[in-house]
Amino acid sequence: MNMLAQMSRKHRAWLAFAALAMLLLSLPFITDALLGRGWVRILDFALLYIVLALGLNIVVGYAGLLDLGYIAFFAVGAYCYALLGSPQFGLHLPFWIVLPAGALLAGFFGVLLGAPTLKLRGDYLAIVTLGFGEIIRIFLNNLNAPLNITNGPQGISMIDPIRIGEFSLASTHELFGLTFPSVHLHYYLFLCITLLVIFVSLRLEDSRIGRAWMAIREDEVAAAAMGINTRNIKLLAFAMGATFGGAAGGLFAGFQGFVSPESFGLTESIMVLCMVVLGGMGNIGGVVFGGVLLVLLPEALRHGAGPVQQALFGKMFIDPESLRMLLFGLALIAVMLWRPAGLWPSRQRRRELSADDDAAQRGTVYDAAK
């Protein structure tokens, strides 16, 4: 009897897994049929942002280091891809070299950023990382003279599409009797990368390193006393997060076919941070959810703001496009007020929070250690 129940539970898990897999595999086709191809492209971007958010989650969520310049690593990855696979230098290296190269280079930049900021905490770290992000963007924007490296503000166009062997993701393919347009193909590639990143994140979470990160997040001094090499562990967090960001950047460059510095501004860093915090810092499911939500929400509002107004009041009071970002801002506030720890916080964090309720009003008003 007991065995049977266990079997069926296992069975049920498998069934759920299979259903999820089927859903993820057929999602671009369902979306295309119901909502149009534009939404498949939005899904592609959602996957890219999930990779970014998971990368930032390592730095902010696990290690507790507030990074406001994370998009710089995305930029490094994107430009690395663009420079090695475009007419800019006449280099057309294959995808499987360019993408890891971008990820590694971004990882190196992560260490570069991490090294001088080891002593800094909280808000001071935030402003330095913000500055670092701006520095990278300014260099990308200005390195067209005296030596033209990045083509400056004009950006790099005609970037090679992602090509695996002879199989180019930029054109439509017929496979197994189905038609796969370019956005669908990118979806499957990005899905693979996203799943890989989720897998790595999951493994990291329960590893020695992951626990060391969390120890540092909770109490750096205690962590050091326990024999954790805080310097190396922090640098590793920066490098690991940056590597994910760099990989996402490479995919972005190949997908868009064009990169320019304006894609890598401070608002992008803030958006990714919002995904991590809103979804639930330190919880992979929450971060994934946050990424999906913040990519889809502005696009859904693009369609919703006008018609909903029309339906409610019978006419347009405010331009729908002005209202769109307004509602987005209100949504950010509302979600944080409703669920301060994020929509789907990690279990440990939820425990901490409820424990804090008993000991409310201790220390400073906003407890900086949390």
Binding site: I127, V128, I138, F139, I270, C274, L323, L326
Partner: protein, 307 residues
């Protein structure tokens, strides 16, 4: 030499503007340990309200300075209500939440204020009427005009006034007590919530002053003006040691000087390899170097002497 002096003046004026905004960041940070990321947008709202009021009154025959004063009062009042509302709605419910939660609501508030301003005042740039005397004076070959002198004086006066308030008044003592330990302060008969509300309102009134000074100096206002100003001022506040009033002033002036001297001389010093387009790189590098050696900013001390 007159060029160098001119650059110093440019830097001091720009720096005073940063300092005015930075004081608002520091007031709030000093008492709550919270970066009020929406502060730059409150500055913008202050400027916009002042614009509306002065446009309404400018035809009435009142002397320009009186118009400015009324505009300032209205703008300060609106900003104070706004500041109170922001604290009440977006920050107070999150006092025991994870540290990053109020950061996200602050970003949300910024987006809301920006888009609200776009809906109310339109998408275009507006000319801010010249209400302050604007004639220029020659000073050893360099030029300074009266608006600029007023800005430097106002920033200095604001800092001095806040210092007096924090260190010499009952309210100031209550603020310091809340900053130190809100529950202990409450036991001593201080109402922490009221003190925090007052701090936010003072920060917002400061923002209104800063908004008007910025608009008077550049003669142009736009709903997007707050974000970049807020960012620069935040940098200045951290450079000086956030939470410290003298630090905000020092950080602001220093950042202004770094920017103007950087933009003015970096090209000649590096033989044209780096130009004025690396001005912000230069500013951030100085910030990073300062923080590496003094992790809490120039005048910052971890806990003591806040606000």
């Amino acid at each position: 030499m007159d060029i160098f002096l001119q650059q110093i003046i440019n830097g001091l004026v720009q720096g005073s503007i940063y300092a005015l905004v930075a004081l608002g960041y520091t007031m709030v940070y000093g008492i709550l340990g919270l970066i009020n990321f929406a502060h730059g947008e409150v500055v913008m709202i202050g400027a916009m309200v002042a614009l509306s009021v002065s446009l309404l009154l400018i035809g009435s025959g009142l002397p320009p300075l009186l118009v400015l004063l009324i505009a300032l009062m209205v703008a300060a009042a609106v900003c104070m209500v706004l500041g109170y509302g922001i604290e009440r709605l977006a920050y107070r419910p999150l006092r025991n939440a994870p540290r990053l939660a109020p950061l996200i609501t602050a970003i949300g508030v910024s987006i809301v204020l920006q888009n609200l301003a776009m809906i109310i005042w339109g998408r275009e740039y507006h000319a801010f009427p010249a209400l302050l005397p604007n004639s220029s004076h020659l000073l050893a070959g360099a030029i300074i005009n009266e608006v600029q002198i007023i800005i430097v004086l106002v920033a200095t006066a604001m800092m001095a006034g806040l210092m007096l308030l924090v260190h010499r008044t009952r309210l100031g003592r209550a603020m310091r007590a809340v900053a130190e330990n809100p529950s202990a302060a409450a036991l001593m008969g201080v109402n922490p919530n009221a003190v925090i509300s007052i701090t936010f309102m003072m920060g917002a009134a400061l923002a209104a002053v800063a908004g008007i000074m910025v608009s008077a100096n550049y003669g142009i206002v736009h709903y997007y003006m707050g974000s970049i100003l807020g960012l620069k001022a935040f940098t200045a506040a951290v450079l000086g040691g956030i939470g410290n009033l003298r630090g905000a002033m020092l950080g602001g002036l220093l950042l202004g000087l770094i920017e103007s001297l950087g933009a003015g001389y970096i090209g000649d010093l590096t033989g044209g390899f780096f130009g004025s387009h690396y001005q912000d790189v230069f500013a951030f590098l100085v910030l990073i170097v300062v923080l590496v050696f003094r992790p809490a900013g120039l005048l910052g001390e971890r806990v003591a002497d806040r606000a």
